[in-house]
């Protein structure tokens, strides 16, 4: 608790959790193929996404961090720091890359939205030193996304 100066109106409550979200966009190519499946099975399960020549998306990533604003800076965390983390962990790994061949963290996994959101969560969580990673939402198209969040948190909400 921050000591309250006499006469100061304390409308910044302590323990007021705030969610901060930063969005980045990257472009990457991929295709879906499971070597354990027959050609027909791959085609049936993955449809057009099985095309071995691949296809691409403009991904949009929303990263939400939860925390109490620092009483001195007024920040949950410095956006500059978050921007650097996202640049290093996500952009440099995935932007303008082929997700099947060039991202070691996805090796052996089908590069679906679900798997990518999970990999991004695991990359980001240890890097967030102020506040806590609350939700990762990865849009593959404007109508399709995957959310990653701690069970029981408010992350399920829009």
């Amino acid at each position: 608790m921050r000591p309250e100066r006499s006469g100061e109106k304390s409308y910044y409550k302590s323990n007021a959790m705030v969610l901060l979200t930063r969005k980045i966009e990257f472009a990457a190519s991929h295709f879906y193929h499971n070597p354990d499946f027959s050609q027909e099975e791959n085609r049936r399960v993955f449809g057009k996404c099985n095309n071995p020549h691949g296809h691409g998306h403009n991904y949009s990533l929303e990263v939400t961090v939860a925390g109490e604003p620092d009483p001195v800076t007024g920040m949950v965390l410095d956006l500059k720091d978050l921007k650097e983390i996202l640049e290093r962990e996500v952009m440099q790994r995935m932007d303008h890359r082929h997700l099947n061949y060039e991202v070691p963290e996805l090796a052996g996994r089908i590069p679906t939205c679900e798997n990518m959101a999970r990999v991004i969560w695991d990359l980001l969580e240890p890097q967030i030193k102020q506040g806590k990673l609350h939700r990762v939402r990865l849009y593959e198209t404007p109508d399709l996304f995957a959310d990653c969040y701690r069970n029981g948190s408010a992350g399920a909400m829009a």
Partner: protein, 157 residues
């Protein structure tokens, strides 16, 4: 390819899949419990006896284990087919009041629409329905996560 079933939650982290759909429908907000004046006062323009319509956006969120063989919680073709059959086909380009039985005696506000859609989608066999969000216009949207959403209800942003 990793072998064996992946836990639904690894280290307490959950993955959910969100998908958006669109449909257009007409409705009229009118309650048999109110007098004409009361209906007019409560629902305003939305009480126009000829009805009006919206382009609705439906967002469906499902969760579950990510199948290591497919990388998916649920195959989109299955989810799309299910939503098409139980929601889009019966709602798109329809009058909600006249053509959806649930709204014979219930006002088709978007709150009630959310609940109706949730009830229709919760039997999706391939994943757990977490919640639905229905956007009536770009300025209003409504969410419903079932009767007992437990801790998943939180601040909306």
């Amino acid at each position: 390819m990793p072998v064996g079933a992946q836990n639904e939650m690894q280290n307490g982290v959950k993955v959910a899949l969100g998908r958006r759909y669109r449909f257009s429908a007409s409705h009229r907000l009118h309650s048999a419990a109110f007098s004409e004046e009361e209906n007019e006062r409560v629902y305003g323009k939305c009480n126009n006896p000829h009805g009006h319509g919206h382009n609705y956006m439906l967002e469906v969120l499902v969760s579950g284990a990510v199948d290591p063989a497919t990388g998916m919680i649920a195959n989109l073709a299955d989810l799309d087919g299910f939503v098409e059959r139980v929601v889009l086909e019966p709602f798109d380009h329809r009058s909600l009041n006249e053509e959806v039985a649930a709204f014979r005696n219930k006002v088709p506000t978007t709150e009630n629409l959310c609940i109706e859609i949730f009830e229709r989608l919760k039997s999706f066999p391939k994943a757990k329905l977490e919640r639905v969000r229905v956007q009536e216009t770009s300025n209003n949207s409504f969410e419903y996560a079932g009767d007992h959403p437990g801790e998943s209800i939180g601040p909306i942003r």
